[in-house]
């Protein structure tokens, strides 16, 4: 039953992810990305991580992607300007080389996945994935990464302001 839901969602995610890079218009790419985020949230739900799923929607699909759209609107991007990018020979070789590499790696991953013994998943405790459990582990086992992450965000924020502020004194 779970696999029945998983495969369509996963397939949709992959298709949308491809859509992100194959789309010529930035808006289309962004829309595909939003769809993929929602699909990921669905996969989190299947993993019983409801809280993470909701966060995924709120933060990625709801906040970050809105800012993406915001930027697209501000720049009023219509079509990707670099249509001639693909046609150059040098890039063609690089494309072939990297895709060969990527296909090799993907093949290996698929291979490994099929080799792995998919034994039945472990029984989860009732409290798994609830806000309280996530919060508790965040403030006990992972308190240091949690705090350090705030430093990271501070640095990123200062950086954004420094680079974007119209006039620095």
């Amino acid at each position: 039953m779970e696999l029945l839901i998983f495969y369509p969602i996963a397939g949709l995610c992959v298709a949308l992810a491809l859509g992100v890079i194959l789309n010529t218009s930035p808006v289309g790419s962004a829309m595909c990305l939003i769809g993929m985020m929602l699909g990921l949230a669905g996969i989190f739900v299947l993993q019983q991580a409801h809280f993470i799923a909701v966060l995924q929607v709120i933060i990625y699909a709801g906040a970050i992607m809105v800012l993406f759209m915001f930027v697209i609107m501000l720049l009023n991007l219509k079509q990707a300007a670099s249509a001639d990018w693909v046609s150059r020979d040098k890039n063609l070789y690089i494309t072939i080389l990297t895709s060969a590499l990527a296909i090799g790696i993907l093949y290996k991953i698929v291979d490994v996945t099929f080799m792995a013994d998919l034994d039945s998943p472990a029984e989860l405790p009732d409290t798994f994935g609830t806000v309280a459990t996530v919060g508790e582990s965040l403030f006990t086992d992972f308190v240091l990464p949690f705090e350090v992450a705030s430093l990271l965000l501070l640095a990123a924020m200062i950086g954004a302001v420094v680079l974007a502020k119209p006039k620095l004194d």
Partner: protein, 347 residues
């Protein structure tokens, strides 16, 4: 003929059996349909209410010719909109142009799914709960879905290929992001008090005292941010008629145009319901002998009237003021409130 009756018998047994096995599923689907239909049919009533009330506020009559008290007016409007020719200008992005209104209405209805509007009761031996789904992080779900609702406006603004639409879309996304923070943070103080994200638990926690008395500041902030989130006056900058023609839905006609308004009105209902649940004690009636659902509905209708009242009282605020107000007044107040609430809770 025997085999036919036998087959029918078997089929009947099978249907009864599978129905008996799947009662929760059936109840759920029925609830989903009922809620969706109810929410959508509230819209015409709300339109009528708004126009009549606005008329009264402005010392005029409002629509009163079609049917008793003008009740037929929304119906007539709907018929007109349905039969109106749908115009799409050639430079628009067709797919996104059609998608946008659908997103708006869809997210608005889905957000309502987790809103509980009464205490559970027993019928035919089944425990019927008056909510679509009791997700244990209900309030987060509402925020997540209403966050997705922004895309409707953004996409409408982008796909119309019109500068007024674009400006409207830009404004709406900026406004929604800014005020969503306030909305979430002021709800957080209620979450702190109840220790749960479930809306049902929140109502249960208010059996003696509604949270509006404990958290008046949070209520005020939440309500202001809620008005801004639903793009209602005085925060209706995305569709400011005087500067942007009609904002993000300038290019829309017919039913697609109406769908944006449906979305807006449903969001209004959802927001009123949320305020009721979070601050006004939900279906608790505090001694007044009415059914829980009536108590809930009365509070929601009252809040809807306040929405309309606000619209006819306040002038629209300037865009930069809106942003300044959101980031420099509401947000710090929210954080302060949260800090104080947290401190009291810990001590």
């Amino acid at each position: 003929m025997d085999w036919i009756t036998e087959f029918l018998d078997e089929l009947w047994d099978f249907i009864v059996q599978s129905l008996a096995d799947n009662i929760p599923l059936i109840v759920g689907s029925v609830k989903a349909v009922v809620i969706a239909v109810a929410v959508m049919s509230v819209v015409p009533f709300l339109v009528w209410l708004e126009r009549r009330l606005m008329g009264r506020f402005q010392v005029r009559l409002g629509p009163n010719r079609v049917g008793p008290f003008g009740f037929g007016q929304p119906m007539a409007d709907t018929i007109k909109l349905l039969f109106k020719e749908s115009i799409i200008q050639t430079s628009a992005d067709k797919f996104l142009f059609h998608l946008a209104p659908a997103v708006v209405v869809f997210t608005a209805i889905v957000a309502f799914a987790v809103i509980p509007f009464g205490a559970p009761f027993e019928i035919f031996g089944q425990n019927i709960e008056l909510w679509g789904a009791n997700i244990n992080s209900g309030i987060l779900f509402v925020f997540a879905i209403s966050g997705m609702g922004i895309y409707g406006m953004v996409i409408a603004g982008l796909s119309s290929n019109n500068k007024y639409s674009l400006m409207g879309g830009l404004r709406s996304s900026a406004q929604m992001i800014s005020y969503e923070l306030t909305l979430g943070l002021s709800a957080l103080s209620i979450i702190l008090l109840t220790g749960s994200l479930s809306l049902v638990d929140m109502v249960k926690a208010q059996e003696t005292v509604p949270f509006i008395l404990i958290q008046p500041l949070a209520f005020l902030l939440f309500f202001i941010a809620g008005v801004a989130e639903t793009n209602r006056a005085p925060f209706d900058l995305p569709e400011a008629e005087q500067e942007l023609v009609a904002g993000f839905h300038t290019e829309y006609t017919g039913m697609k145009f109406a769908m944006f308004f449906m979305g807006e009105y449903i969001n209004m209902v959802t927001m009123s319901a949320l305020v009721t649940l979070l601050f006004l004690g939900g279906w608790n009636s505090y001694g007044i002998p009415v059914w829980p659902i009536v108590s809930f509905a009365a509070k929601v209708v009252f809040l809807l009237c306040v929405f309309i009242w606000l619209r006819s009282t306040f002038p629209r605020i300037r865009y930069d003021r809106l942003m300044t107000f959101g980031w420099k007044v509401l947000l710090p107040l929210c954080l302060l409130n949260l800090l104080i609430t947290g401190t009291i809770k810990v001590m």
